[in-house]
């Protein structure tokens, strides 16, 4: 019973924090709300018996990826006029159409998941099981992820390097 209550609290926090993150004018404020949302999702992962995924969510998503965002926002030094411009773009006549489209998509997805029944399993899927499957049948996926990360590394180095050189 306690777990269910915790799940609903975490889910509410995740949804509210995400809505607030999407509607802030200031990028840093949005980022802090996004981190709260990711931490709430990590709590959900822990509650549904995936402690390894919960730890990775905190370490990599809320830690590493969000720190990258903070670095870039701090480098850009956006200032007040950017905030004012963003606020001007958040008028109802701008978001009404997209909101309707998202609502339609949500209704479709809701219809599709409405037939699914049953609880999540009560046993935990531990890091050991994940590791055994990862380097057993899924070893090709590990290779692909490694190549993807290498491509990301080379691409971001290239883009960032030219940025630094032309500054002089």
């Amino acid at each position: 019973m306690l777990e269910i209550t915790l799940f609903y609290i975490a889910a509410t926090i995740a949804l509210v924090a995400t809505v607030l993150a999407m509607t802030r004018a200031n990028a840093i404020h949005a980022l802090i709300y996004l981190i709260v949302s990711l931490l709430a999702v990590a709590v959900i992962f822990f509650l549904i018996g995936a402690p390894f995924a919960a730890a990775l969510e905190i370490v990599i998503y809320a830690g590493a990826i969000m720190v990258l965002f903070v670095f870039v926002i701090m480098m850009l030094n956006l200032g007040e006029e950017g905030d004012a411009r963003e606020r001007g773009l958040l008028q109802p006549k701008i978001w009404a159409g997209p909101a309707l489209l998202s609502l339609l998509l949500f209704a479709e997805l809701l219809y599709m998941i409405s037939t699914i029944e049953g609880p999540v399993s009560s046993q935990q899927v531990t890091a050991k099981e994940v590791g055994l499957a990862l380097f057993g049948p899924y070893v090709l996926a590990v290779e692909i992820a490694a190549m993807l990360l290498l491509a990301g590394l080379v691409g971001s180095y290239h883009l960032g390097r030219r940025y630094l050189e032309r500054e002089e």
């Binding site: 609903y8 949804l15 965002f69 950017g82 029944e117 999540v120 899927v125 030219r162």
Partner: protein, 104 residues
């Protein structure tokens, strides 16, 4: 932890809502940093659905796909933020409507 029976339906509902909010953010924002944040939210929602499905059947496969989504998100953000720096340098703005020409 017996007596743990969160309905799978409700977790998928949260995931669906997060995905819709992320897509809404993607459509209404023009600042490229917010667009990247919305992409993160959408990837995270998909990862939540995968992990919930993995937990439903008690199999590790969902968490493995979560790991793959994590590496996709990391690579995407690294390249995306490099592009943000370039866009800010060339156009002196982060508004994507001002950067819609191929040879700006």
């Amino acid at each position: 932890m017996d007596g743990l029976n969160i309905p799978l339906n409700h977790i998928l509902l949260v995931s669906t809502l997060l995905f819709s909010i992320g897509m809404l953010g993607l459509m209404i924002r023009r600042n490229i940093i917010f667009i990247l944040m919305s992409l993160e939210v959408m990837l995270n929602a998909a990862a939540l659905a995968f992990v919930a499905a993995g937990a439903h059947w008690g199999q590790p496969d969902g968490q493995i796909i979560f790991l793959l989504i994590l590496s996709v998100a990391a690579a995407e953000v690294a390249v995306g933020l490099g592009l943000v720096l370039q866009v800010q340098r060339r156009f002196k703005t982060l508004d994507m409507d001002d950067a819609n020409r191929m040879r700006g």
